[in-house]
């Protein structure tokens, strides 16, 4: 069996996998990091999005062996070690941008990458377009868009807190 060595949320792991093992299977089944979800089998829903070497990727369409030597961040690794939420997590809570919570980890990880790559700031339309790869069945997206608009202000240092930043 092939082995893969990678760092997940700052912790080094060496894991035996099959050649066909997906990154999401490694995370969920081998490392028991079950915050990353599987919502489809065609790479449409984005519930499985994690960061690999700073890029958001769909872990359901990434082979584990492709991540040799990679730095992986999952939703479990997004908050600070002391538990302080990332501004994106804080904004999702503030603006009621989650209901059942199943799409939320992937949605948050996608949103963090989207905002990080666009320091100039994103309009509502650009945020909606930027969420093309993530499905949510509960919220209608309205509050997710608001949360991301608020979080970008904090992430880029234009505001201190996410409260009232979406208006």
């Amino acid at each position: 069996m092939p082995q893969v060595s990678l760092t997940v949320n700052g912790k080094q792991h060496t894991v035996e996998v099959e050649g066909r093992t997906l990154l999401v299977e490694l995370l969920r089944e081998k490392l028991r990091l079950t915050g990353t979800h599987v919502g489809c089998d065609t790479s449409q829903c984005g519930a499985c999005v994690v960061h690999v070497d700073g890029e958001s990727v769909k872990s359901c369409t990434t082979l584990a062996v492709m991540c040799e030597g990679s730095q992986v961040t999952t939703i479990e690794g997004l908050a600070k070690p002391d538990g302080t939420l990332h501004p994106m997590q804080e904004a999702f809570r503030e603006y009621h941008a989650l209901q059942c919570g199943f799409c939320t980890p992937g949605m948050v990880m996608s949103a963090v990458d989207l905002v990080a790559k666009n320091p100039q700031g994103l309009s509502e339309k650009e945020i909606r377009e930027g969420l093309e790869g993530n499905l949510c069945r509960c919220t209608g997206y309205h509050n997710i868009v608001k949360a991301i608009a608020a979080a970008q202000e904090v992430m880029h240092g234009r505001r201190e807190t996410v409260a009232a930043a979406a208006e």
Binding site: T34, G35, C100, G140
Partner: protein, 789 residues
Amino acid sequence: MNVVTPFEGIGASVKRKEDLRFLSGRGQYTDDINRPGQAHAYILRSPHAHARIKGVDTAAASAMPGVAAIYTSADLAAIGGIPCGWQIHNKDGTPMAEPKHPVLAEGKVRHVGDPVAVVVAETRQQARDAAEAIHVDYEVLPASVTMTQAQAPGAPAVHDDNPSNLCYDWHIGDKAMTDAAFAAAAHTVVFETTNNRLVPNAMEPRAAIGDYDTTTGEHTLYTTSQNPHVIRLLMGAFVLQIPESKLRVVAPDVGGGFGSKIYHYAEEAIVTWAAAKLGRPVKWTADRSESFMSDAHGRDHISRAELALDAEGKFLGLRVHTQANMGAYLSTFAPCVPTYLYATLLAGVYSTPAIYAEVKAVFTNTVPVDAYRGAGRPEATYLLERLVDVAAKQTGFDKLELRRRNFIPTDAFPYQTPVALQYDSGDYFSTLEQALETAGWATFEQRRAEAKARGRLRGIGISTYLEACGIAPSAVVGSLGARAGLYEVGTIRVHPTGSVTVLTGTHSHGQGHETTFAQLIADKLGVSIANVDIVHGDTAKIPFGMGTYGSRSLAVGGSAMDKAMDKIIAKGKRIAAHLMEASVEDVEFERGTFRVAGTDKTKSLTDISLAAYVPHNYPIDEIEPGLEETAFYDPKNFTYPGGCHIAEVEIEIETGIVSMVNFTAVDDVGRVINPMIVEGQVQGGVAQGIGQALLEGCVYDSHGQLISASMMDYTMPRADDLAPVSVATHTTLCTHNPLGVKGCGEVGAIGSPPAVINAVVDALRDYDISHVEMPATQEKIWSIIHGKR
């Protein structure tokens, strides 16, 4: 004083208690659970719509690595079929056709996705690999794919002993009175439509884990369910014959339901049975393709509606004929959806004096159809609100004026409709006016002209709707064919030091119950929501319950909690009277404080709970220790939320693409506990309604192959398909439950589809069309605009 500050009670938009675990990856959904020694099941499903099974050869598969067992229907001969929870009677009084729904296909497969065999192996991959090595010898049969095909003479019989493919032929209302209304009419309007079949697509695929304790003989099922007690009842009593005392059903965090996780599914019985058979836990998780072909679908009606009006535009009579697709088997609540959740809603918000509706339910070689968000009420609302617009156009009455002229007057409540329901309260004029104002109805023509200059056709559409939810009075539904009661259960456990645990038989899968219910406790008992824990989803912890659907959790489950809190307060007053040496009649209670009326003598709830559990100075001969109460609440009536939805769309002339540009919802959901959560529920419901109107449609080909079986083929609404939704509420209180609440989970999906299609038709007003079928796809619109229909 022990009043909670800041205010967290009824009416406060407090942030959700459940969010932290979901945002940090610590939610625990069924697939996140792993039991020691667990094996994995994979279900081999039919690739055909209709075929005879001539043989199943599992020899090669059994020898594959890791395989623990392979089961077919022959192995399950001793267990029962999947039961149906509602029996409808035909016009002639005979019961509906109710064919057996085997856990694994027996002799025939009846839809693509029908389960044929189960492989249990060490890993999911091994189980899947082995399933590919099973050879099933199918004799492919012609299929009855559509309802029209299924009812044609000589059509393939989905169930061999029912060649008509008819499940039932049912009716409601007064036919003679309705016919008389038509005979006297100045105008008669006819509208025919199909309500498109939808796939619910909760983001979490279904999953189930069976576990068996060989020491105690206790079975545990972890499952993605909206109602674990209902699953225990159906699976335990009818399928596996396991007494309730030996069967625990746990529905942990559930990633959305929308109705699709109400029903008892074959996989739940399979893993529970196999775990006991093998003596080890067995886990099954659907992949999305399996969800498409095994989760119950929604809607799928073909209807003809006729409206009779007098010369002044008053509705005189409504006649409806509907065919409803049941799919291949009867899912748990399927028969009641196109009858008592549909035809009883045909009065809508109007005072139409005579209504007659006939509904034929038909078996086809497709996935079973059951309740999906709104369940029957979206179909009724769509039919009625399109019909009113068609009537306005045909008769020349203004579409708003026609509605106002026929609204049930605000002073006419309680209002008895001609189709069984009695509405308790409502104010359709106010929700209409508020929505018109918010949506800028009066200035629409300017926006249309401005859009035209940009090469776009802009349209505005309205829907004034009502629904019946808060399901439901047990005696009423029992008389209509329900095989269960529909009360709810709440237990309030005040602990010695004053924190509170609430046990509820409802289930939260996105609705935010852990917050809303805690607010009820905070409001009445004065306990901070941080010190209130809501426990749901485990039959071993909760006395009983009927679960969450039909916007019932707050109206029925919340009312049970309220009733249990009344018992807590009553007992607390007796304890307080003893401690303060007063008579019980003189003790008052308000938000956490017991007071002797007219004095400054007080005791806090914590003083009382401590005394109840440490009864040193306590009237022990008269009152039992402890402070815990349970209440069962059976609602007196349905609740009747209603309101007005207004959609504004733009169509790009060149491409036919429809864009949502604005959506306004003004809903009367009764008393609002948490406005933030209510707004979120409405927005989510509206998104699903817009999805039905513009994007979503389940498609079978002529052989019964499911074409739209993945998220690449079935169009789920994405963020850039939707527009901002303006949500407001206008409250009239429910008159028959203690909280005055009506329910908000389904209104969005019920009110919005006709508003969107009315807007699309309005946008196309220059193209001589009277209707566009859902989903109003780009191709349909382009063909209308460019004359290639």
